[in-house]
């Protein structure tokens, strides 16, 4: 009997246990579980589960070396309005936590100003977003991970783990949306974790965020307008 682990939230499917409450009897083999199975904790699809190989200590990841170096040689250009906006909106949240209300409002004002100056690249379809996201997952994220590991930069590694998981889930949903279209969301709700950005589709949000583990009051519904 084998075990499979959800790469988003860490939930473990144990073949010997099954998930009786979902009609999956103990002893059900992974390959006999229907393809539309999703993680009971976070909604990740079956293909985001990995076999837990109890013999091998940890799998080594091979990364494309060119990708790792390509990004680092790029010149550090000036920050774009969109980036300044994101820096300032986050600093506003930081001031809120430090109870600096006037400062929070000032950072918000600056964030809003730069947001209004940030214009989208041309040709921005959901498909184009999916393509960039693919590139994040295959190149930018691994490259950043290598750099952060080399420096033992714990803060950076933590944020990269979160954004990798959030990105994987987003990719899954974009792929599904490309196939199913609006039907995917017509009879359900969509939520975004206010801390890490994890997207969840379902009636009610999970008790805690599967990625960053904040309680559900921080997982905010996105309204249909």
């Amino acid at each position: 009997m084998r075990k499979f682990k959800c790469s988003i939230c860490g939930y473990v499917y144990d073949e010997s246990v099954g998930i009786p409450e979902k009609g999956i009897a103990p002893g059900t083999k992974w390959e006999d579980i229907p393809d539309d199975f999703t993680c009971p904790m976070c909604g990740a699809p079956k293909n985001l589960f990995e076999l837990i190989d109890e013999a091998a200590p940890s799998a080594t990841v091979s990364i494309n070396d060119d990708a790792v170096h390509a990004d680092n040689t790029e010149d550090l250009k000036e920050l774009s309005p969109g980036e300044i906006s994101a820096i300032c909106s986050n600093l506003a949240r930081g001031c809120e936590k430090q109870r600096l209300t006037a400062e929070m409002e000032a950072f918000r004002k600056i964030a809003d100003y730069f947001k209004s100056k940030a214009v989208a690249e041309s040709g921005g379809t959901l498909d184009d977003i999916a393509k960039m996201l693919d590139d994040d997952l295959t190149n930018r994220l691994p490259a950043a991970n290598v750099a952060a590991k080399a420096d033992a930069d714990r803060g950076a590694l933590r944020s990269l783990i979160w954004s990798e998981k959030v990105s994987m889930m987003m990719k899954t949903l974009l792929d599904r949306f490309a196939k199913e279209g609006d039907k995917m969301l017509e009879n359900t709700n969509i939520y975004v974790c206010d801390i890490c950005g994890f997207i969840y589709i379902g009636e009610t949000p999970p008790e805690i965020c599967p990625v960053c583990k904040v309680p559900k009051f921080q997982i905010i519904q996105v309204e249909r307008r």
């Binding site: 969109g82 994101a86 430090q98 006037a102 400062e103 600056i110 930069d153 950076a156 890490c196 307008r225």
Partner: protein, 159 residues
């Protein structure tokens, strides 16, 4: 380090009123009066049965140093997230399907949270850090009429 009461956790047991030597906790709006609070006293923090009071640091630790290689790699990723956010926001404005707009809004917000988090970890965590000050100082050159210069000046004065 003055005390701060989290109103979400406070269960109105009012032990903080009883123990506070200065009356700083006795305010109408439940916000502890920092001008009366004795830094480092902690009496209310230890007395509160609901764990509702904590000390807010007066000074924050300096920003951790970051190497150029890490910052450059984070930059490439965060820039991609910011661009995806903008593309999604454009769909929110232009799509005529309410469901597509809703989905795009979720994608935009998710990207913003990721970008914010990566930027935070690339040296912009603390409002009081040198990197933030540099960023704000550079903004003083902005002469656009709609630019909120007053906000920048306020931050440079107060942080």
């Amino acid at each position: 380090m003055p005390a701060y009461r989290n109103i979400r956790l406070c269960s109105k047991d009012c032990l903080c009123l009883y123990v506070c030597p200065t009356g700083a906790t006795d305010t109408e709006n439940s916000i502890i009066d920092v001008t009366k609070c004795i830094p480092g006293c902690m009496a209310c923090v230890n007395a509160c049965p609901s764990g509702a009071i904590s000390m807010v640091p007066g000074k924050y630790p300096p920003q951790q140093p970051k190497t150029e290689a890490v910052v450059a790699a984070q930059r490439a990723l965060e820039l991609s997230k910011v661009q995806q956010e903008q593309m999604a926001n454009a769909i929110v404005v232009s799509s005529d399907s309410a469901v597509t707009r809703q989905f795009a809004a979720a994608i935009a917000k998710s990207n913003l949270r990721m970008a914010e988090d990566i930027l935070r970890e690339s040296g912009y965590m603390l409002p009081q850090s040198d990197k933030v000050r540099e960023l704000l100082e550079a903004m003083l050159d902005n002469t656009a009429p709609d630019f909120p210069k007053d906000a920048v000046e306020l931050l440079l004065n107060q942080l």
